[in-house]
Symmetry: C2
Subunit: 614 residues, 2 copies
């Protein structure tokens, strides 16, 4: 099996090739060379300097949300293969802060908004509070309208109401989008977003703003995460981002959104695109991690037949079984993410449908958990080299964890997916996956289930069954006086999580099998192998469920296992070509194990790949 | 269910209470307070200063290998809950270096050996080479006997023959145990170990010794890992550690071990105890990780029934399902490790039996993989707080990875386990697990399999079946002209890995169920719950295998799943008591989330829990 590497790269890159090519060029500069043994202060300086170079190259714009949303994600994908701290700072500047100002602001915010692209405005997104990371709608920060000064007065009344983890906050922001419970003449009208100046021109703090750097972190120490407290911070009337709600100079509040909860959801809208941003930067990082690990495995020699070290570890089934299923899964997630980004960008930047909400909420967990697994196994299968920072595999574990938590904890998002899904089912607004075979009748007698159609049917069938099961369990328990809350949170959460994942796996599987028809011809064969392997992997991961439910019999299960192993075998001759066709430029594959690690180790290096001129 | 917390702690601590209590006292000193935003240089200094305090307290001795081997492991367990870098430096000083010198040396090495306990001798273990981490027996470093000077001349002839990852090497060692291919008058006699002075009294390097710090790492940056190259380094005749082999002043070589390969295995003996050391420091770190995560979960509030943040996340099934199976598994691994340490210490320090080799090689992977999972899930379930270094959950992911790789890559060790096991089976020296029920006859008709006896039988049955299957597959393929190497490494490695894990799970399950009879009464009930949950977990992890093989039917599988959930539910009221009964002193539970994180966040802290006096 051969495939067209360039076509494959363009296919996975999907859009905004010009942006991507510019990144591939300007990241050749020395400033993008990774540095390891530097202080936290230097790390933060470096990440910001890198962000400045990105901005100078005019590859991103906060106004892309209105013109070319796919370009927002393209920038995240490129950043994800360069530097995690840069990517994190970028996503806050461009999506959470920039996107919010552009999509929720109006004419009066334009002067500030126009500074976002060239970093004359640097922003942070002050939503999360120490005590309410898992329940933002209950946040404690308040904004009281002061009729006398015609200003909002913002306060963090408690320790738990401190804004927490605020990227760009500790050093570089001059503005913050601050979320607060708004009170007009004492009346609570819900959470609103304010564009607040937090630093003066000389970067000293504005009165009433307390900011502290959060200190050392698991990873991405180039990000200036802050704790922020507000004490009687005065913000002008115009600071309110007023697309949906506004206060006039007489202190009269008006909103296009009647419900308070709805008001919050609309102002926090960039969390939704944020999930695609996190997925985008994680998927590209997954690809560079795989590329580094596979290149090393193709050169690293271990015990061969005669006992000599003459056999690349990539030739061992141990490596193949550990890594190739993840390769297939990563590519399928990439393909599905491209579809979801497109759907989101076409019609959902402002008014996301339930479908789009579920897609965004399920793909971020799937991609970030996969990055965690890819990075974990890559480190492990690279032995000691995986532990050296300069080889850049281990840092992706930390990056995955920040993605797992950011823009909504993965498992909590999965609960949201299941909840929205069951809600739509109840309202008869959910289109159940369509089966082309009827599993309960036909499948149990099948002795061979390892064709794409059958596998896809099995995956769809599982989603349908879990919808029914969760529906039935909830209904029965609530009929007996149980509460929805107890059923979902305390008694049957495993079903909730199971359904959300089954939904996500079906979505990815369906997007990918569709793509087998639609993709360019030079890509089809390799994509077919990836998709087959992924579908089989999903079914095998849930094999006991299928066996218990009688959808698959023992013979078919055994057949699938054996076919799956053949497919992994089939991947082997192309595995290195595939990761090399990800289009990660050599200058970004800085890990010595991705290049010539023997040469690297032939000279003093102190574990660094780059020595800056002093 | 109640239990006696003190008895539980003493039961898990198992031995050398005096050593443990001393550690619990002297670690109150400020020097043991964790520091995060410090330079690599400071980290290394700090780890060594801590090691000095440990030595001053005379809790460990390299001579414990001859007198009280369990005390070696007790020290590792205590170090594992204090500081990863300290633990790593300690294990090299005490086990790899110290243990090797004490057990392979003789009278003539005594002056140097006697300095190990008070650190007047600080040592490193120069075995691993850049190119031969996975095949040490093929190492390239040479020692040529020079009859003229009556010395050995040691050389690293190639880039790949550099000693790599050598803990204590970059800064603190004055001695190294150097492994090299020995040539006597040009004749190769195999790998031998030499006790070589590498630094002078003033800590300058000895002639011909090139040492470089390896630079920044994923974690444990307080460890001074080195790359070391030797160029015509002269070592006196007496430097040869001569328990098994020696060279007299006439250059006549003698060895008690005829085979070269055997000579290598015997001089690398401390790798075996080293696996128990790694397991020991990892199991205690697992316990402190669980304790921190559970304490936070018991206080961290999230959405309750009314929407307010009033419910601890520990009350959610999401947390319970993620963490309680790992709690049960961790305790079972701890119990099994205690048994294995005891067996090793009683009769295997010098001449390990096959049983002991398999135990040591299987328990290190199981414990370190479990720590990886515990740390990963603890970070994730603690949200943003898990990402802050001061909460000390994330660092355990890095520590787990160093354990996964050190003293033999986990998966390679698992291959060794399977190989030794199948070798013993072939020689009819392997005692197959004894079944008290005949699964193939009785179990498929059982509708209830959730009792300890049945679960244990199922686990044993799986090991027996996999032994047969791997035997059959190997035999058939080799009968058809296949090679053992291809079958094991390229075609059926999944079976090899599967068997090794099935063996390990059976060993742990069997030790634990035995302990249910032998353990103190105040511990029995809680241990019973942990063991039941672990056994069910193991069976459920392999459920599709049981279903395919017809050992378990769909009804019994469903029953087990439901009982398993009940057991998790049963753990809940005791979970916090259990982790608090691990006996980790409060002064070592420094994570703000393990104490009062609201208080910590009420004042400036820069992410540090301790501010040293300048």
């Amino acid at each position: 099996m051969s495939f067209n590497a360039t076509e494959f790269q363009l296919y996975l890159d999907h859009d905004n090739y010009e942006t991507r090519n510019k990144w591939r060029e300007f990241t050749k500069a020395d400033i993008f060379k990774p540095r390891f043994d530097i202080s936290m202060q230097e790390s933060k300086h470096l990440a910001f300097e890198r962000l400045k170079v990105v901005a100078e190259n005019k590859v991103f714009s906060a106004f892309d949300f209105l013109k070319n949303p796919l370009n927002v994600f393209a920038n995240h994908e490129m950043a994800g293969m360069v530097d995690h701290s840069l990517a994190t700072k970028l996503t806050v500047q461009l999506n959470l802060f920039g996107g919010t100002v552009v999509t929720l602001g109006s004419e009066r915010h334009l002067p500030i908004a126009e500074g976002i692209d060239d970093l004359s405005t640097v922003g942070c997104f002050a939503l999360t509070e120490l005590g309410y990371g898992n329940n933002a709608v209950e946040m404690e920060t308040t904004a009281h309208w002061d009729q006398k000064t015609k200003e909002f007065v913002i306060n963090s009344p408690t320790v738990l109401s401190q804004k927490y983890w605020i990227t760009n906050g500790a050093l570089h922001s001059n503005y913050a989008v601050v979320f607060a419970q708004l009170f007009i003449h004492g009346e609570h009208v819900g959470i609103h977003a304010f564009l607040v100046r937090i630093r003066n021109k000389d970067m000293t703090l504005r009165p009433g703003v307390f900011i502290e750097d959060m200190g050392h972190k698991f990873s991405s120490n180039g990000v200036d995460n802050a704790r922020i407290k507000f004490t009687n911070v005065h913000a002008p009337r115009e600071s309110l981002l007023n697309k949906y709600s506004d206060v006039d100079s007489n202190g009269v509040y008006q909103s296009k959104i009647p419900k308070k909860r709805e008001r919050f959801l609309r102002v926090a809208d960039r969390l939704l695109s944020g999930r695609l941003c996190i997925a985008a930067m994680s998927i590209s990082n997954t690809k560079s991690t795989l590329c580094t690990a596979f290149r090393y495995a193709s050169k690293r020699l271990a015990v061969g037949k005669t006992g000599k070290s003459d056999t690349p570890i990539m030739d061992f089934q141990l490596f193949q079984n550990a890594m190739y299923p993840l390769l297939a899964k990563s590519i399928c997630l990439n393909v599905a993410l491209n579809q979801i980004k497109t759907i989101y960008s076409q019609n959902a930047v402002n008014e996301p449908t339930m479908d789009v909400i579920r897609f965004c909420c399920v793909i971020k967990p799937m991609v970030t958990w996969n990055l965690r697994d890819v990075a974990t196994r890559s480190v492990e299968r690279s032995g000691g080299q995986g532990y050296l920072s300069c080889n850049r595999l281990a840092e992706s574990i930390g990056f995955a964890h920040s993605g797992i938590t950011a823009e909504g904890d993965n498992s909590i998002l999965m609960q949201k997916v299941a909840k929205e899904l069951m809600g739509s089912v109840e309202k008869k607004e959910y289109k159940l996956p369509e089966l082309t075979q009827c599993p309960m009748r036909e499948l149990p007698n099948k002795e061979k289930i390892s064709d794409v159609e059958t596998l896809l049917n099995l995956i769809k069938w599982r989603e349908i069954s879990l919808i029914k099961e969760l529906g039935k369990v909830s209904y029965e328990k609530m009929a007996k006086g149980g509460t929805f809350y107890d059923v979902w949170m305390k008694e049957d959460n495993y079903l909730v999580q199971g359904l959300a994942l089954a939904f996500g796996e079906r979505v990815v599987a369906e997007f990918c099998t569709n793509e087998l028809r639609l993709c360019p011809s030079g890509v089809r064969k390799v994509l077919d192998l990836m998709v087959r392997t992924y579908l089989a992997h999903v079914v095998l991961e849930n094999l006991s469920w299928y066996l218990i439910h009688g959808t698959v019999n023992a013979k078919a299960a055994t057949e699938l296992k054996s076919t799956y192993r053949e497919w992994i075998h089939e991947i082997h001759p192309q595995a290195l070509n595939i990761v090399n066709a990800f289009g990660i430029p050599e200058h970004l594959l800085t890990a010595p194990i991705a290049q010539n690690y023997e040469d690297f180790n032939s000279r003093p290096n102190q574990g660094e790949v780059f020595k800056p001129k002093l």
